[in-house]
Every structure is written in C-alpha cells, then in structure tokens.
Assembly symmetry: C2
Homo-oligomer: 89 residues x 2
DNA sequence: CAAAATTATAGCACTTCTGCTATAACTATT
DNA sequence: AATAGTTATAGCAGAAGTGCTATAATTTTG
C-alpha cells in the first residue's frame, strides 16, 4: 500500500527581498571602502558567506545580518531600507 | 598521533538583537490584534515558528521576517527599528 | 472557578545555513 | 599581457532553521 505522500514543504525563500538586501549591502559596504574579505574578517563571518549573500545564493539568518550591520556601523534597519511588495491576497 | 583539533566554530547567535526583534514583533502583532495563530496562518509560517521567534528560541532567516512583515503590512525595517550595541573595541 | 483561547515547549524529519578549503572568474594596476 | 586583488563558485561536514504534531502552560473570558 502506498504511503500517503507528504505535501512538499514550501520553501521560504523570498528572492525579491533577498535581492534588495544584497544590493543594499553591496552599496553600504562599497561606500565604506570595505572589500568582502575585510567585512568577513572584521565581522567574524566567512568570506564565502558574504559572497553568498551578495549574490543571493542563500537566505541568511538575522544574526548574520546583525554581525554585518555592527561591523559596518549602520543600523540594522538601514540594510532593510527598501520596500517589498505587499501580499497579493 | 593526535588529529589536529579543529577550532570550535563560533555560533552566530546574537541574543541581544534577537530579543529586540522579538519584542518588536510582539508589539506590532499585538497592536494589530493578531494572535500568533492568525499571523502564522496568514503568512504561511507555522505557529511554532512564530512562537519560537517571539520567545527567542531561534535565529530566523530573513525571508521568514519578510513573510511576517508582509503579513503585518509594515516595512521590514520597522521590525528592525532598534539599536544594537556597537562592536566593542 | 471552569472553559476557552492563546502562547510556549518538545521531538522528529528534513532542509538549509554556515564555515572551511580550494579554485575559478573577474577586475584593476602596472 | 602579467600580476595582484577581488569576487564568485563548489563540495563537504556539522549545526541549526522549519514544519508538523502533540501537549503543556499561561492568559483571558464567562
């Protein structure tokens, strides 16, 4: 007898927002003259992780963003200073 | 011969910021008269996840926060509208 | 107080994030 | 063009996020 197929889990991966976050990060980082490596080193994150975020390869955790904001010395809200679309309903 | 011990990975878990996020979320959610279950249902997240965030049990991903912000119809930056301590040093 | 509603906790399965290391692909700079 | 600097990609291992289900604890309501 066939097992009841579990409904496939819907992944939470908001590409729109992640793209906006990525470009905000690149913008702020570049403005401060940091390379990805500088940022990685100072924040204690890995270089690959910074690159993954900026190239929208992953969905980082908020603590990761906190680390970055601290290092860049900007409010966390600045990295999220963009509009995402409303729920379509 | 002893294997070189790998340096223990430092976990990224910013309790300070996560607490602030949690209280912001509770505040905004309550102000709009949503229960955790309402928010979970409308956002497509699980109730347990909302509870975990508000009780600072986990370090959510940014997409999760995007979902919540959309449902509550507030800018993402509003949920991060607080100050975290600067890097020491 | 009793019942209902809401929030919190727990364990499991599964997926994904993260660090690490190495390497490739770009981008200046000379 | 060659070199160095920077950014992007890839695979692995281990830690952690997430949904689901159930249940406990707490708060609100009658």
């Amino acid at each position: 007898m066939k097992k009841t197929k579990k409904s496939k889990r819907v992944l939470i991966y908001d590409e729109e927002g992640l793209k906006l976050l990525a470009s905000k990060l690149k913008e702020v980082r570049a403005k401060q003259g940091y390379t990805q490596e500088d940022l990685a080193y100072e924040s204690g994150l890995s270089l690959s992780q910074i690159a993954r975020i900026e190239t929208v390869k992953i969905n980082p955790t908020v603590s990761t963003i906190f680390c970055i904001a601290r290092t860049l010395d900007v409010p966390v809200s600045e990295l999220f200073d963009f509009k995402i679309s409303k729920k379509t309903k």
